[in-house]
Symmetry: C2
Subunit: 328 residues, 2 copies
DNA sequence: CTGAAAGCGCTTACAG
DNA sequence: CTGAAAGCGCTTACAG
């Protein structure tokens, strides 16, 4: 049987209360007893039972993180920094993965988080539905969306996606390109794409360029989408530069053009959005709008209210920059 | 306040026992009551408290998965399939990430798993130390290592790494290459590399090729290692083919050679080990020994004993194959 | 510095 | 079909 506090108490000749105190070093006991208790606990291979502990102290310092096995690859960086920052603050993190396009699955996962009484749940590259947000609010759990400002009733940490689209486009225009493609998921369905596309349109307009519908290729955030889009542009070919809405898409574009003997950047220039490590790992290297995913992760943890605070909605915008590499 | 079972009981005019039964649909009540209870629970926004539940039922069907934010990219696939298989079996999974080269951190994380009373913990691309294994065994938790057969006192699911090294090498030799490089982490420190290297040596020997120490480049599993190795081979240059011990390494090799104007495969051929999606996303595409990571994940879940079984050590070997693409 | 006691929210024999 | 009661392993006022 697993050792419990009462076993230690018996051996030490103390009450369970005392044992609990030293185990949680709450002070109010002699160094002596402390040492003795710790030794016994150790000999017994004692480990606290979290369920019992959480239940008794009716509080919980763990935070839930939900992400999808997405086509994009920036999750890792965000999560890594969430972990680092959480450790600093002595918060526990539990991760769960949602399958893409499986709303029921997401709901299940969120239920699991609620049952575990986490004090906040963070969604990375996932769109929690209004119902899910409501569930969470009702359960007095703080919901946060990371990397996506989909809904202003929820706190979020993300880049200014409109500005990203705007600056990517402006950069290209100032380099002299006039016919600029845009590859993304469906711009009415996907909010991030919608924002970036709006910024793109805004820049075109400001520069007196009229948008042609063939310039837009809608599919997903994936590598394959980039491949497909490259064929599209070759076919309808008046484009001299393309914006890929994720590094994966841009990588697909790059390889797709390569396979079609279209030279990048001499025939068609490319700029990617995200700017993960991948951009330096392609040949030629991808010029990108680079988001600060590390900062996003850290900020998300800081944003989570320490206790069961009032659920103020807070929105934090993370700065981005442009990294000029070799594709434009 | 959050609704609890007693709140439902009060409203329904029933005992908490009955509520518990219908909530867990254990049968032994009328459809009537069931419906009524469910409705009340719903109206109240009731969610079970896992801590209380786990504590009371002294059992736990959750499994812990620990992985590192590693340089290699196959984790995702393994984890994804762990999740899928776990869901089928109605097991809960909780994920935790260990930082690389942080043994204390790993110990902390394992402690967390023990405190949470998971019934098994799976290590992906992580070397649990003997002490950690001992902790787990003592806590009656089933330890499993995935993708790495480091220690025969622990159950594992992995490929036959010796055979992988052997076949990769033999493939190259049969293609006519005679001077074959091998890039990996330290082969005495890293057990997987050790095994693969042994297979490599065995094949060389069988084919009457004598190994030269310049053929071996030891560093890590990362992309950068591939870059570094390419410079090494260009300098000591009698090699006509190279084995990269991970897809990341091979990608680095490919790009490194490209930057140095060494043509792949005409000047130097390449074969990668792992065979993730990445291999089709490089130009030229990487020929690879392809491991079945999806099967590994599934198998790992199947291997975990349903209950607190006797801790038999089981070892499962997953088949691999060779995918010929463009680099050799 | 230490202990007796109540309680956290559930589950499960046991009895009817 | 339903309930009273004990118990899961901890924590925390309260009292000394």
């Amino acid at each position: 049987m697993r050792a419990k506090i009462s076993d230690i108490a018996k051996i030490a000749g103390l009450s369970t209360a005392s044992i609990s105190r030293v185990l949680n070093n709450q002070g109010g006991y002699s160094k002596e007893t402390a040492k003795r208790v710790m030794k016994i606990a150790n000999d017994l291979g004692y480990f606290k039972d979290r369920s019992a502990s959480d239940l008794a102290r009716r509080s919980n310092n763990t935070i839930g993180v939900i992400y999808t096995d997405f086509e994009t690859n920036f999750n890792d960086l965000v999560i890594k920094n969430i972990m680092i920052e959480a450790k600093k603050r002595h918060l526990d993190v539990i991760l769960m993965i949602a399958q893409q396009n499986d709303p029921d699955g997401l709901t299940k996962i969120v239920q699991g988080m609620i049952e575990r009484r986490v004090f906040a749940v963070q969604f990375i590259s996932t769109h929690p539905s209004p119902q899910i947000i409501q569930m969470l609010n009702q359960a007095a759990i703080f919901p946060q969306v990371i990397g996506d400002a989909t809904d202003h009733t929820v706190s979020y940490v993300s880049s200014d996606d409109m500005a990203i689209g705007y600056h990517a486009t402006t950069y290209l225009i100032e380099k002299g390109y006039r016919s600029i493609g845009f590859v993304s998921p469906n711009i009415t369905t996907d909010y991030v794409s919608h924002l970036r596309f709006s910024g793109y349109r805004k820049s075109l307009k400001e520069h007196g360029i009229s948008f042609k519908s063939d310039w837009l290729f809608e599919e997903s955030y994936s590598y394959q989408t980039g491949i497909h889009a490259s064929a599209h542009y070759q076919k309808y070919g008046d484009v001299d530069a393309v914006i890929g809405v994720s590094d994966e898409v841009s990588w697909g574009l790059l390889n797709g053009f390569y396979d079609l003997n279209v030279s990048v950047p001499s025939d068609i220039a490319l700029i990617s959005i995200d700017g993960t490590e991948l951009c330096s790992q392609t040949r030629p290297r991808l010029t990108s709008v680079t988001q600060d995913f590390a900062l996003m992760g850290k900020t998300a943890i800081k944003q989570a209210p320490k206790k069961a605070d009032p659920h103020r909605v807070t929105a934090v915008t993370i700065p981005f920059k442009i990294n000029i590499r070799e594709t434009s």
